[in-house]
């Protein structure tokens, strides 16, 4: 069923909330190693699509495949363990923890010790703790957060909180990273840094699916773009193709082109 080059494939996926058709028969494929962008006006169903992929909402119909395996029906933590990680549109940093600890939670899937072992602090736990701390430091270094590692996440500026979220997802060692509005609320300088970060992440071999509103960011770094409106796909193609699509302009401006 699934294409061997594509890391993620949606086939005729639909979902509705109390009669409102949020996503209608959506299909697309994300090629491995790409930066793939999902764009569209407010309420187009972009975040809903991400929520379905990550298992927060099960799709009403249709199938989702990740590396050839069926995703639909899996719980979020299972999806993550398969190699997909995500960030959130409304920041969901653990406010009650430090930056380092936030990232350490991300390493949860990379360690095994369960309740009883942790209670007794067995040698295995200690060994894992050392591994977690080492990995954590590497990631903090990579994201440029090393100097802020000991600070409480709640006190960080918005841009840094976004970085913490991304660092945390990288810790799960995903093969596919879903970024929900990574540039929302960032200023020009920060947006620029964010593009750089995303490109760097792609360099490490991670496929990136980007949901965004901000055209500058998307057009600058995406390989492929899919445009949603009212839960349906209205266009896809390269950034250049999308920029020239009448339908897309119409969707964003809300009227027929003249």
């Amino acid at each position: 069923m699934s294409n061997s080059d594509s890391i993620l494939e949606l086939v005729n996926v639909s979902i509705n909330f109390g009669g409102l058709q949020a996503i209608n028969r959506l299909s697309f494929q994300v090629e491995s190693g790409q930066i793939f962008a999902l764009i569209g006006p407010n309420g187009a169903g972009k975040t809903t699509a991400i929520n379905m992929i990550t298992g927060i909402y099960p799709p009403a119909e249709g199938e989702i495949y990740f590396e050839g395996q069926v995703l639909s029906g899996k719980k979020p933590y299972q999806v993550t363990r398969m190699g997909i990680a995500r960030t959130f549109q409304n920041i969901q940093v653990f406010q009650n923890m430090t930056v380092r600890e936030n990232v350490m939670v991300g390493l949860h899937t990379r360690s095994r010790s369960e309740f009883v072992r942790c209670l007794l602090h067995t040698p295995m736990v200690r060994k894992e703790e050392r591994m977690i701390r080492r990995r954590c430091n590497e990631i903090l270094e990579f994201m440029g957060l090393a100097s802020k590692a000991g600070l409480l996440a709640a006190g960080l500026p918005y841009g840094d909180q976004k970085k913490v979220e991304i660092a945390r997802t990288l810790a799960t060692e995903p093969r596919l990273l879903l970024l929900d509005e990574p540039a929302a609320g960032l200023n020009l300088q920060e947006t620029h840094e964010m593009s750089h970060t995303i490109l760097m992440i792609r360099e490490t071999g991670v496929t990136v699916l980007l949901v965004a509103h901000n055209m500058d960011l998307v057009m600058g770094i995406s390989d492929t773009i899919t445009v949603l409106n009212y839960g349906e796909k209205i266009a896809d193609g390269s950034p250049a193709e999308i920029q020239n699509s009448d339908k897309v302009v119409a969707a964003y401006l809300g009227r027929e082109p003249w």
């Binding site: 975040t47 929520n51 927060i56 959130f88 549109q89 409304n90 969901q92």
Partner: protein
């Protein structure tokens, strides 16, 4: 007495207890809607209502009708003072802290009531005689039960009108849904919270006063009623007024039927067990809406 008459009696009994639970539940709901907390001092409002009715009617010989309104006003003043003082000055607005603050305040009120009135249970005369009324279904009921039904129903109508049709009521609902947005459109959130405490104080007092002639009253009568009222509010869907009525009635009838048909020793256990099962099947109560988490 044949079986159908027994059943009728169980249901009538259940309804009359349920009406009390319902009115208590509405008191819980009002404060929940304005602040998101569970106000455990609601239990004390019930006791205070009953005891102040006793003081006015039995000790000071003031007519029942006048006493009723004086008690209501007094307890709602206590509710308002509670909000103006401790609740407002609490440094943390975290829900769990405020809930336990109300537990602390409730202890203070209960201790004070014990010092004022002593520990004995006292009776309060019924509003209109004690001659039982025989219903056509074969059940009997006291005139005071009719007052309980009537007043609960009236309270429901008044609250319904207040929240639907008056500006103030609408402002309170707006506060409940979204504080910031309500403040932005000019609703004084402060006043709404104050009002909700005063209103629930009045409701607690009403519950305490109408049940006192049936159950007698003391400085700590409110604890059990309050607990059941809270259970009724949760069962119906916390914050929902129709749910409070439904929850109260279901709980009351369950207890009564449980005692009459199953086992009177386990009647409370049965009621709570049913409550648990309802929650496990419908985690937001019978009429509650899901609190969806925005991601």
């Amino acid at each position: 007495m044949d079986f159908s008459q027994q059943i009728a009696q169980y249901i009538i009994t259940g309804l009359s207890i349920g009406a009390i639970y319902a009115i208590v539940a509405m008191g819980f709901n009002i404060i929940h809607n304005a602040t998101g907390i569970v106000n455990f001092a609601q239990c004390e409002f019930i006791s205070l209502g009953g005891m102040s009715m006793y003081t006015l009617v039995v000790l000071l010989k003031i007519p029942i009708l006048i006493s009723f309104f004086i008690s209501m006003a007094t307890v709602s003043l206590i509710g308002a003072l509670m909000e103006r003082g401790p609740i407002r000055y609490a440094r943390s607005k975290e829900i769990i802290i405020l809930i336990f603050l109300t537990i602390g305040l409730s202890g203070t009120l209960r201790g004070t009531a014990q010092q004022i009135w002593g520990t004995d249970n006292v009776g309060v005369p019924a509003f209109s005689g004690e001659d039982p009324i025989h219903l056509p279904v074969g059940a009997t009921i006291l005139p005071q039960h009719m007052w309980v039904f009537g007043i609960t129903f009236l309270v429901m109508l008044v609250l319904r009108h207040f929240f639907r049709n008056t500006m103030l009521g609408k402002a309170m609902r707006a506060t409940a849904v979204n504080r910031q947005a309500a403040a932005l459109v000019g609703v004084s959130v402060d006043h709404m919270v104050l009002l909700s405490f005063a209103l629930s104080g009045a409701l607690g007092a009403v519950a305490g006063m109408i049940i006192a002639p049936i159950s007698t009253t003391s400085y700590d009568t409110g604890i059990m009623l309050g607990l059941k009222g809270f259970a009724a509010a949760i069962l119906g869907g916390y914050g929902n007024f129709a749910g409070a009525i439904l929850g109260g009635v279901i709980l009351g009838v369950l207890e009564s039927l449980g005692a009459g048909l199953l086992s009177s020793q386990y009647k409370d256990a049965t009621a709570f067990l049913v409550l648990l099962f309802v929650l496990f099947l419908k985690p937001t109560g019978i009429m509650g809406y899901g609190e969806s988490e925005r991601v």
